[in-house]
Symmetry: C2
Subunit: 200 residues, 2 copies
């Protein structure tokens, strides 16, 4: 079973990287095949260009590859910091360019694009791990935690992945080593809950 | 009075462009100085790199210029399509890179970054114009219209611009010429309401 991990953080020694690597190790221990993308390290270009909008557009090979991997993924794990209640631009552009019509969703025939899309992803579960420097109470009261609806409803729900879990770790900037170790154990637990040991 | 207009749409003949140009013409007729950026046309690079994170980082000249323009703007108008309940990546990256500490917000002394930031923008009003192919009822019921809280609370509210207005036009893909002309008249009306004729 293939599980796709997408990491988006500019620092090579970030806590986000530790989360993504912990998720990857846990999945491999549980018998899954991991497809791992560190969008920053790979220099992913997040800018969707006009000619890519049409469903039948000719795509760059790198986007074709991302689309293929997304469509075969039986699980998806995304790791990113909370920047302005949203993912970093590099990850937003991965959604813009890779979650394409015909890959991630489709419209019914006779629909010009204003109707209700039908999800096409076959992933059985999606997990989003976030880090934040905004205290939880303030995130909920002032900002309404927009990352929850963005990932759960606007992205994965629309594309047919309803088995969704999201966890926000923080406050990162003032956290201790002990807290971070505790959070990484929590990552292992959540990943194993959604992707348990495969019988061989 | 300087008003900054930011346009983010990949097509040079988009309805988003028509909105941005209508806003620009209206502002100029009303006596304002317009600073206009078409992020796609200018090839804006939206990827914030690690070394930019520190407040005292040495910035690329283009980012310095954007920061200067943002800090002198007495009004801000943003125009973009609704892509996955969020702005296109190129615009998300403009936020990531230009809304910097020391420019758009600051933390109190003795705060390590976990506290409540203080807005620094001096813009007296901000307007966001969006286009969408999602019917309004579905946007509200299923997705919760995340663009509202993203722009109003997470971005402009945090940076001290509380006089905020947002308008979503749609469904674009099935709209008639008459509807579009009506919408552009609405753009003029809203812009003039927030940026009225200056006495000379």
């Amino acid at each position: 079973m293939n599980v796709l991990i997408i990491l988006a953080h500019p620092n090579m020694n970030s806590f986000n990287r530790a989360i993504a690597e912990t998720a990857s190790e846990t999945l491999q221990l549980n018998g899954y095949n991991v497809i791992f993308h560190d969008l920053y390290k790979e220099g992913f270009n997040p800018v969707l260009i006009g000619k890519e909008i049409q469903e039948e557009a000719l795509l760059e090979p790198i986007i074709e590859k991302h689309c293929m991997e997304l469509s075969i993924a039986e699980g998806i794990i995304v790791v990113h910091p909370n920047w302005w209640g949203q993912p970093p631009a590099i990850l937003k552009g991965w959604i813009d360019r890779v979650f394409r019509p015909g890959i991630a969703y489709k419209f019914l025939e006779n629909d010009s694009g204003e109707g209700i899309p039908i999800g096409l992803l076959k992933a059985k579960a999606a997990i989003v791990f976030n880090t934040s420097n905004t205290p939880e109470r303030r995130e909920l009261d002032i900002f309404g935690d927009p990352l929850e609806t963005l990932w759960k409803n606007c992205i994965f729900g629309l594309c047919g992945v309803n088995n969704f879990h999201r966890k926000m770790y923080g406050v990162i900037v003032t956290s201790t080593l002990e807290q971070r170790e505790y959070w990484l154990r929590d990552v292992k637990k959540i990943v194993t809950e959604y992707f348990p040991l495969l019988e061989t």
